[in-house]
Subunit: 312 residues, 2 copies
């Protein structure tokens, strides 16, 4: 698996650069600051020698932009002598075998509450010489919703998936809705998108092509939505609503997100994992939106799983 | 246990009122808004009928005070047909038996970063007719530390415990240091205090007296520290450091705090549980304090478990 792994890792690095170039172009003010790190430099006093991860990554962060309050794009290529149990749902017999993992993850927190927050992640995991699977997906978290943006987002997701079979989009879309749910709020995190793991149903080249198509669809769809919304005016009250909703984002990531919890438990690099958290967040006791308001519509209309791709 | 339970529940309600009166007096601007709630009014679609909690509470919140940015003091008296497994460390044979629990918890987030954040919790749990134990404690989270405040805090804790035996303070102090630790940051949450659970070593009246003494020590010690620090000047940079440190508080509560996780998992009232989160929080990528600064000293001096009670 060395050659295909290297091929994916190379593509992920060029994709990271492409994603940052797009975000810098849309922001028009700030650029990303890269931070190249290695596990050799990370103090991991709590991890036993056998369980220490190896490898490293490049964490790139943009702060205080004109459009983006904060954005992170993280590349990593890590490995270890012992695959953590939590790394695979399906294949518990692989736990404790040597593994390699390479991926890109991004979270973008816009300043303007009319522009939605986005998250995406694309990764390859290999175990031993012959076993591999892809995982990843992308999802959108609006504060003020627009039906046509939800339609664009899900149609882009569907178009990328349909090349690989009509059953793919419905499966990955439902997986995303099921995953990004906060039981203690009885709320979805956002309007969904795609989520997949253990992807090795087809030959390697075909799975890799699917991941590349999905990644490209994410970049183009998010750029289109940013362009539509970034010049809209907003009030201080709308900004405050965004800060409160970001509290839900933090709650999801720290209470439920498997990547975050797995990363922290397996002695991953904390700053690269928690790069997903927003710069500014608020909590207030028992906030309830005004009946009939746009804030209420976010909950009653947008954050309800639905068949956006079929809307016209 | 009906009569002793009612006795504790009554005392907790008067203690809640006393605590709020103290905080209102120190704030001098805002007062607490009470919110009386019952599980009968909470939608719990995810909970099976058997596992639904019963009872309710009074959640009191103060916001945007002169001294306190946010403060919550929560009383609750709940019960259920089936004690959740996570509710007891020692006594797994009690899981699934009928239980009652009553407690007060408080978290205070001052505006001024020279005033520390505090947390306290005092509770009684009863199972069936004859089994009971107390739990609780208090701990302090400074942003800018003062040795004499740490000494006052721990001497107050020690004095309250010493009436019940010299071994109590060292045991509850270590329990607190061990509990309020963030492994992914390799940091303590604060300078500690007391933490205890499963307290039924003595007759009921003596255990209850100990809890009352500890609760009184908390109230007096925190008031003394607030009075010492609330008029100190602070800079915008110091305020920002406080907001970043509050991020650690959120991380602890959502990643590790057993009361929070147990409460959310057992379909507790989300708004009363997450009342502990600060109003305003910030995260920034890879913040490092300036060497030799007060911000660094927080980490290198204050957030290191030590024998504060023996200092002079």
């Amino acid at each position: 698996m060395t050659q295909p792994y290297e091929q994916v890792s190379q593509w992920l690095q060029s994709y990271q650069a492409e994603l940052m170039a797009m975000l810098e172009q849309e922001d028009g003010k700030q650029t990303f600051t890269p931070d190249t790190w290695s596990y050799d430099d990370v103090v991991q006093s709590d991890a036993s020698e056998h369980k220490k991860p190896q490898g490293g990554g490049k964490t790139c962060v943009l702060r205080d932009g004109k459009i983006f309050e904060s954005a992170g794009v993280n590349f990593s290529a890590i490995g270890g002598a012992s695959l953590p149990k939590a790394a695979t749902n399906k294949r518990q017999e692989l736990a404790d075998k040597p593994f390699k993992a390479t991926g890109v993850s991004t979270v973008v927190h816009p300043d303007n509450p009319m522009v939605p927050t986005c998250h995406a992640n694309f990764r390859l995991l290999t175990v031993g010489d012959n076993i591999w699977w892809f995982g990843g997906g992308f999802d959108l978290t609006p504060f003020y919703g627009f039906d046509e943006d939800c339609v664009l987002w899900h149609q882009a997701a569907k178009a990328a998936c349909d090349r690989y079979g009509e059953a793919i989009y419905p499966r990955f879309k439902k997986w995303c809705d099921d995953y990004f749910y906060l039981p203690h709020r009885q709320e979805q995190r956002g309007i969904g998108g795609l989520f997949f793991d253990d992807l090795n149903d087809w030959p390697f080249e075909q799975c890799f092509a699917c991941v590349q198509d999905v990644a490209k669809a994410f970049l183009q769809a998010y750029q289109a939505i940013v362009q539509r919304r970034k010049c809209l005016a907003f009030t201080p009250e709308q900004k405050q609503f965004q800060l409160l909703r970001r509290g839900r984002y933090v709650e999801f990531n720290l209470l439920y997100d498997r990547g975050t919890l797995f990363g922290l438990q397996s002695h991953g690099r904390t700053e690269s994992i928690l790069m997903s958290l927003p710069a500014n967040v608020q909590w207030t006791y028992n906030y309830r939106p005004v009946p009939g308001s746009e804030e209420e519509k976010l909950l009653t209309h947008f954050l309800r799983p639905q068949d956006w791709a079929s809307c016209d």
